[in-house]
């Protein structure tokens, strides 16, 4: 309990625990990550809107249902962790006020929206995000995942040069 009340953990402990989650993931035949689940929800809705009936081709499979649970859990877990440790965060990170020239909330919201759009499209194209490709894929020694992550780092470093 004391461990859960701490304000922060060493990155090595945090990373090690994240890696150990591969054990239950393996036995559940699931895979860590969140972009697949969101895609299957959107697929069901888009199908419903255009054809007015729910096509069975993109109904979430068990793996997607598991990921939907995972997403809900991550939201809850971060909230719980803050409640237990009493950390306080501003509603928009102070970082942005330093990094964006002539900061305004509108500017930040616009960047946030375009960022979300780009990373999601990229994650689907590359078949996984930082968790799916990075943590799970590289743990399985997948060459494709390694290429995705290297490309991601290079592009992230270049894009971040635009911040102050």
């Amino acid at each position: 309990m004391n461990f859960l009340r701490q304000k922060y953990w060493s990155p090595y402990v945090a990373g090690g625990l994240l890696g150990l989650l591969q054990i239950p993931v393996f036995f559940l035949d699931a895979s860590l990550g969140s972009s697949g689940a969101l895609q299957s929800i959107v697929c069901v809705f888009s199908n419903f809107l255009t054809t007015n009936n729910i096509s069975t081709t993109c109904l979430p499979n068990l793996k997607n249902w598991w990921q939907i649970g995972l997403i809900l859990g991550i939201i809850f877990g971060a909230w719980l962790s803050i409640k237990l440790s009493g950390s306080v965060r501003p509603s928009i990170a102070l970082f942005w006020k330093k990094a964006i020239q002539n900061y305004s909330n509108k500017k930040r919201y616009f960047l946030a929206f375009s960022g979300g759009f780009l990373f999601f499209f990229g994650a689907r194209l590359a078949d996984g995000c930082t968790m799916g490709n990075g943590v799970s894929g590289i743990s399985l020694l997948s060459v494709g995942s390694l290429v995705v992550i290297i490309s991601m780092f290079v592009s992230g470093i270049l894009t971040s040069r635009f911040y102050r």
Binding site: Y8, Y12, I68, G69, I74, G77, G115, F119
Partner: protein, 188 residues
Amino acid sequence: MVIFFTILMGIMMGTAVGVIFEKSKVIDPEQLIGQFQLRRFTMLKVFLSAIGTGIVVYFFFNLFALERLNWKVFSLLPDLLGGALLGAGIALAGTCPSTLFGQLGAGYKDARFVFLGAVTGAIIFYYSKPALQIWIKECWPHEKLRLDELGLGYNLTAVLVVCSIVFVLYLLERYRPWRVDTECQHID
């Protein structure tokens, strides 16, 4: 019933992931973009430790002859392009797709716009998927490939990769102790 159990397992593991994300501060843009700007190294340390542990876990599974999943198809151009979009998007959004949900739980307001952007991305991807899939399948190469298939064999490759990760983490910690990165910006 099976679906209910599956979602419940997901929620339990997700809760663990959410706590790990918040405690290690990887949900904070200062840590994430600080990593891209090579000012802070928390992201890389968490990431590499997770991969290192993951490889050890799968190494033991392999010893007990449990089959490894191998789902990622290697396709050079889509992987490079997807990775580049992913990196640029992460730098603009200030979060990865998975840590986004940690940000939502932590109450970051701008994360809601990131979420809207992601849903829009999912809709656009859904409609362009048929065309994209044809393109991806035509790209060279299009095969499931693992590092150990490049010639060294599974055991040796896994040991070499884990040793390199431990060595890099050792250098990183000497260069910049983790407490410096985490404590000084407790929140920002």
